[in-house]
Structure formats: C-alpha cells, structure tokens
Chain length 307, copies 2
C-alpha cells in the first residue's frame, strides 16, 4: 500500500481505568493518507505516540469518546508538548461540551505562550452525527451506553482515485500532466481529435475503508446499524461473561457481547480492547469472542491495524 | 539499614519539559521509615510509581515545587488511581495556591465518588517556611528563582532512637518490655534498687539525614544557607555551561552552577537532573559538575538514593 492509500490504526493503549505494567490507557491514532487523527488520549499518550515514532506535526484532530480520566488525562501534556515543539497549526478537539470547561482553564494557565490555538468542537453524544470531514475522511459519532455521555467514532474513508492502466497511457501517448485529470474522470482528446473516456485508462480503486471505535459501552443494539459492514470494528471487551454482572453494573461489555455486535453488523474483523486488569491471561476473552465471531483479535500496545 | 531507619529517595523521572524515550518527567518519592512522600508529579508518574513497586497505600503527602505542566500533570491520573484502588485515607497536596483552583474542578468532575478526600495546603514560595511535620520528618520550603513562583523542599529527618547495646541489656537482665523506654531515655532500676542511666544501655544513633530538592531554578545564592550541610542535594542541571545564555533566558541552571551551590553549601553529595533533551550524552553535564564538586552523580529513572 503506498502512502496515499494507507489507512492504519495505531493502538497506543488498550487497558481500562488503571494503567498497569502491561497496558497503557486508551488512545489510538489513525493514519489515513499520511494525516493523523487521534481517538482518546489517556495519560501517557504522548509517550506512546513518540514510542510508535508517529509524527506530532501530522496530528491536527483529536476525538474524545467520553470524559472519564482514562480517556482524556493525557490532553494537557500532549497539548504542552505540541507547543514546545514549535507547532503553529491549530489543534481541534472534538468532545462533549464539558471538555472545554474542564481543560481550557488548564491550557490557558500552563500553555500561556503557545504558538498555536486549541479549538474545541462540542458534539452531542446522544445522536449519531457527522462531526468532521476533510478530503480524505468523514467522522460520524456512534452513541454508546455508558455511565457518562459517550460516543464512538466511525471513520469512513473518501473514495480513492482509480488506478491508472500504464499500458493505455503509453498507447495513447498521454502526457504526464494530463494523468491527474484522467484519474479524476476527465476524458482525453488525442492528437487526432478522438475523445477517449477516462474509464478506458483506469480500473476502479479498492472500496474505501471503514473503521469503527466503540469504547466505553455496555452492550447496545443501536450501535449495530451504524457500524454495519465496517472493515474493522474496535469494540471494548472489558470483562469476560463470567463477570457479566460487573460489566452491567459498570456499563461495560463482555467479550461475547462485543462479538455479537461484530456478527450482527457483518464487520470484516473485530479487535477487542479496554481490558480489565483482572485478567492476567486475555486469551479467555479472545476465546469467548471467537466462539461467536471468529475473526477476532486482541488489541495490544503498538499494534498497527491495516483497515 | 532496617525499615525503621530507612531514608531513601526514589527517582521516578528526571527529564525536563519534554518526555523522551529516555527520561520521564519530574517526580521523586521519599521513603522515610516506610512512609512515602512525593515531590512533583509529572505525567506518567503513576506508571513509574508502579514500575518501582512502591506502595500506593503508603503515600499520603505530595509536594509540588511549581505549576509547570512537567511537574504536575500526573496529579489527576494519580488521584483517580488512588480512588480506584479503594483508598480511604486523605491525600494532602502542598503547592502554590493556584494548584487548588486548577485541579480541584478536575477532581470534582472526574473523581466524583472518591472514597477519600484531597486536601490542598497552599504555601508561599517566596519565603522559606516549615510546611509539614510528622514524627519522622519536617519539610521546609526553599525559595527558588524561576519563571513562575517555585520552591524546593528540604526534608529533615527527626532524630533517630539510639542503638541498644545488647550485652548491657543481658548483663542487667532488663526485661524486653522496658527496652523501648530506655531507648527513649528512661533509666533502669535493677532488682537490687540500683538506678542505671539510659546512656549505659545505648550508643548514639547516626545523625538524622537531610535531603534537599531544588528544581526548577536559575543559579540562586539564597539557596545555599538553607541547604547547608545536607547529606544529598538534588539540584537541577538542565543545561551545560556552553548553553548558559539559554539557561539564563529560561531561569534554569547549568551543571557547573548546580555544583557551585553544592560546594558552597558543603553538601555530602550532589545529584543532578532535569536534563534538557538536547544532550544525548549527559556525561558532559557530569564532567562539568565534577570539576567543581567531585561528589556528583547523574540522576536516572528508577535510581534509589540512600540519604
């Protein structure tokens, strides 16, 4: 996959509430056509960002699923570090409206002489809505069912350019300067005045990728139609079915419930994470999910998922 | 050294502003007679606390030198984690008055159902004052010279009990139940009515230990009389003398300046830290300091200093 087609998810942390010597707190960075989009920012996210050799300058948008500390306490440190690195481009933070009330005073106090602006964009986690769009991707919220207002995020890649058929370009002596227009659908007029449609020079690109992030949430049927057909679904699986009562009490999911969502939604693959520290061997969670949805993987720190 | 005599400093992080793959941000934990006292709490402090196998239940007091993010952004995560671990004893945070204004709203929002209280104690970093005392230690502030109000901390151990001379105890048939009183200075009356002074049964303990933490600060002569005669001085050495202009502009010290303070104060040892990320080889800082004060060591993560 060349850089322009890349759609990868970097797992920076996939533990739950308490950081352990095994797992960092929730954070992921989506690398889509060489732009970076962060989902959640638990404490120490900036350490993992650096450890995964991601480029701070390519990060412009941060999406926060909900305001529990393990999903956002890394924001002040990350924002400071971006400033110290001399960043000038704005950073956009998409989150529940309370995020600005809580973090803006810290940013004002600690990051007084920042060379860039931090712009908060509040969304309503109760409804599914398009909250961000650029030429590469659209981001839609996925209402979740948790102890505090929470939303997942559906990242839908914009259609890719078709592939050029090199032989046809050579055959018609198409100058290099015309190739971009042809890829975008323009016909080509030959020296003899013949008009050749774009489709003769191209074959369709792979269908655009779709990635969904659902954490934290109890089992919630309303997720299913929104994530229908995603290539990869990341769904929290904090507990095993043996601890279902605990899962229900804390509005988290079991691995089996995560798998049921993936199955009902016809996901291509399921990646489970947000593991409770009570399972020294997470294979129990993996087996439980695979019984229902075989294409399941355990998330781990520094995992790179190709969508 | 047995547990009751222990006086150790655990270095959790000794980097400056930016965390790197080599250094964590500023934090130290003093273990004094099995009670823990934290100095500064940069992001990821709770990770290092766990990695050093320190006991969260033994931590009750946190001292924050100044309100720059690299010295305090770990507080919300640490406070949350203590709550999740079921702590019930209060936590005391000693800091500039602004700390409460900045962090209390976060604690209220994110740590709603905490089983313990967080009590802020404001101090004035402009003057040296006793801000804490228990039966083991007293803590006095050391005014520093930085871009924001800042104070270091002088930890002075309370006098230790004298050592019992086992042979004398046996000779006079002193019952075990009397030993504690004798250590505290009470005489012993023998069966024959003879009064033996406490000093016959004991030899003096080692003199109490003194540890001083000075970070962040420019070179500042007023530190010297306050830290006079400490066993160990931790002094920041962000820069080398070659970057003195940068040190002065940012109100930090060079390694040579840190060594000058240690020398003038007749410190037993100097430990330098808060290293700028610009020095891949910190030996340059060590050599520079040792030219002035030979008993110098570089701090490093997971270092345990015996005071």
């Amino acid at each position: 996959m060349n850089r322009l087609e890349r759609f990868e998810v970097n797992i920076l942390g996939c533990g739950s509430a308490l950081p352990t010597t095994k797992h960092f707190l929730s954070s992921q960075v989506i690398n889509l056509r060489s732009k970076l989009y962060m989902i959640d920012c638990g404490e120490s996210t900036q350490l993992q960002f650096r450890a995964m050799k991601l480029n701070f300058q390519k990060l412009n948008h941060i999406f926060i699923s909900h305001l529990h500390g393990d999903h956002c306490f890394g924001l002040p440190g990350l924002v400071s570090t971006l400033g110290l690195l001399g960043r000038t481009a704005d950073i956009h933070i998409y989150a529940h409206a309370d995020a600005e009330k809580l973090f803006a005073p810290l940013f004002r106090y600690f990051c007084k002489e920042m060379p860039y602006k931090i712009l908060f964009h509040a969304f309503n986690p109760e409804k599914s809505e398009l909250i961000f769009e650029d030429k590469n991707v659209s981001v839609t919220t996925i209402p979740l069912k948790h102890r505090t207002p929470a939303a997942g995020f559906l990242f839908e890649e914009k259609p890719r350019s078709p592939h050029i058929i090199r032989e046809m370009i050579d055959f018609y002596h198409v100058p290099v300067s015309r190739i971009r227009a042809i890829k975008e659908g323009a016909p080509f007029v030959t020296g003899e005045g013949e008009t050749i449609p774009s489709a003769r020079f191209t074959r369709p690109a792979e269908p655009p990728g779709k990635y969904a992030y659902c954490s934290d949430t109890a089992y919630y049927e309303k997720i299913i139609p929104i994530v229908e057909g995603v290539n990869v679904l990341y769904h929290e699986a904090t507990f095993s079915s043996a601890d279902l009562a605990r899962a229900e009490a804390t509005f988290h999911s079991s691995a089996a419930q995560a798998a049921s969502v993936a199955k009902a939604a016809n996901a291509g693959r399921l990646v489970i994470g947000h593991f409770s520290a009570r399972y020294p061997d997470e294979q129990i969670l993996l087996r439980e999910a695979m019984e229902i949805f075989p294409h399941t993987q355990l998330a781990y720190e520094k995992m790179i998922l190709k969508v």
